[in-house]
Point group: C2
Chain length 337, copies 2
């Protein structure tokens, strides 16, 4: 097994399922009022790497293993669609929170149609996702995902309440990113396994589902750490969205915690730098502090999390799907967008 399999080759393994998902989502989201159609179509443009549905599909395949065949039932596709819609709803609301104007090189909903429409459209997509989840005969996904969204919001609120809190600690930071980001990855993986196993219990032992959940959690934590690093040293033209906003928002990220821990007096120096206009704050941070060391420190942690995620996969039966999950985890720490 090589670590260098390109992302596209991993995606190819679940291409039929991803294509079906994207085809069906257009139908599923067709609004009752024609006025809403341009909004729904616009949000479709935020589609990214679709890491979460990929994880749901690969988790389903991995749990079934070679002995049960790789064909996934309709329920797994539904779960993947719900996860993707919940993620989309959080993006639409996140852009409101960040007053962001660009996402994936197109205007955000708040930029295009105003804050009111953006708040309501996020709510609309959440409701649509929950409605889809409760159509499943097995209520596991609806229950797990409603709780996941509650946890995501709890993490996000806690983060907002602790902006510019220079007494913030690493354990609390990890808890918040586990809640606001990693919980949905964990759900995507666990529920993919759960619904692929179905009522026949084909490979869906609690040990395997826990393994997938753990994998998703560590991968999600790594993903958020990388996101925090990209906000500091990424290239806006590559990432395709506004960067550097964490600093001006007083968001306490892992690189920032590293800088704060370098010694007494740092908190005061940082406070004097932060809270200014992003470009200015970033320029000063780059010059006054060892930004590259802070980012390197955070990326080390991300790589440790990825190794942990990969190790979590051991209870799953060996095969191409498990290999793909292993490789996909590695991709998270090498991505530049």
């Amino acid at each position: 097994m090589t670590e260098t399999l390109p992302f596209q080759d991993i995606a190819a393994l679940v291409r039929p399922q991803l294509d079906r998902l994207n085809r069906e989502l257009v139908q599923d989201l067709a609004p009752g009022h024609r006025e809403m159609l341009p909004l729904i179509e616009h949000v479709g443009g935020f589609r990214g790497k679709q890491l979460r549905p990929m994880l749901t599909f690969l988790s389903g395949m991995a749990v079934r293993g070679a002995e049960h065949g790789g064909v996934l039932g309709d329920d797994v596709v539904t779960v993947a669609k719900v996860v993707e819609l919940l993620h989309t709803a959080t993006l639409v609301h996140d852009d409101v929170l960040d007053s962001a104007s660009v996402r994936r090189r197109i205007p955000t909903v708040n930029q295009m149609a105003g804050v009111e429409v953006a708040v309501l459209l996020g709510d609309y997509i959440y409701a649509k996702a929950f409605h889809m989840a409760v159509q499943l005969h097995d209520p596991a996904a609806a229950r797990w995902l409603a709780e996941t969204v509650r946890v995501i919001c709890q993490g996000e609120i806690t983060q907002v309440l602790h902006r510019f809190d220079f007494a913030w600690t690493e354990p609390r930071y990890f808890q918040v990113i586990a809640e606001k980001t990693a919980s949905l990855y964990a759900a995507a993986c666990r529920l993919g396994g759960h619904y692929a196993a179905g009522n026949h219990g084909a490979g869906g032992s609690e040990v395997r589902l826990r393994a997938l959940e753990e994998y998703g959690l560590e991968l999600g934590i790594a993903f958020q750490i990388v996101d925090d690093c990209l906000d500091l040293d990424g290239d806006e033209r590559v990432v395709g969205k506004s960067l550097g906003t964490d600093l001006s928002k007083g968001k306490i990220t892992l690189p920032l915690l590293y800088l704060l821990q370098r010694g007494p007096g740092e908190a005061e120096r940082l406070r004097s730098v932060l809270g200014r206009q992003e470009a200015e704050a970033l320029r000063r941070l780059r010059s006054e502090f060892a930004l590259e060391h802070a980012v390197a420190y955070a990326m080390d942690e991300a790589r440790r999390r990825i190794a942990k995620a990969q190790a979590s996969l051991s209870p799953l039966p060996p095969g191409p799907a498990r290999d793909a999950l292993h490789q996909l985890a590695g991709y998270v720490v090498t991505r530049r967008l």
Copy 2:
């Protein structure tokens, strides 16, 4: 049966259930992180007349009728809690949309903790409500309410997209308020009946559930018309929230539609008046147009809807609960807050 039974006497019929609901909601909403507790407690202060849970309980009692006893099971309480939480979530987000600073004489969440926290807290409460709904063994409430929230958002988005649209029509106005306001009343009534009947089918025939749904829908439409009138001629000290904001937001309400229909040229005159600072626009509207006629026209429509709601109750067995629903409908058009 008198039309003048005070609101408190109707509420007394469901007082034990309302007390239980309010006691349990405090427990149910206890957040995982202590930082969130003040926010959750603050939102508890928005509690109003609790018309929706009252309707759920009374609908349950009415469907069971005297022959099955008035005792309601746990499921009806859960449904009432979910409906109340969904309503609370819409209030928190509505205050963001309206940039409102006061609700029920206390600061709105956006005023107290900022727009970011308000958006996230609304999402949090939605998720909590859905999570509660999917704990019910019978998935009817989760399915019906997820669809209801989607419809609420659809109605609200349509309204925002048609601000200052002086070509708006009464049928479209009624459709939008049915969606954004009345759909939750309809759900509160229908689901109260559904879960009170339980698996024994005690009185829960589709005819009776449809009757309750129709009652809730017409009552909700009347409620929104009255709300629109209060925004124009209500007393802020009595209503307890900012008024007159509909005008400056370009919200097309029934009194405004009446004014627009008085003759050609009115749309142009209105356009010149609207879109200004609220107090100024309201003062001009009062002087330039027959505001009282417009409000009287709208209130006539509200009374017609209430009569329709009351007539819908006929398939239900006679008794104190059905009488209370009849009286409660009458209250909606006499309220001043």
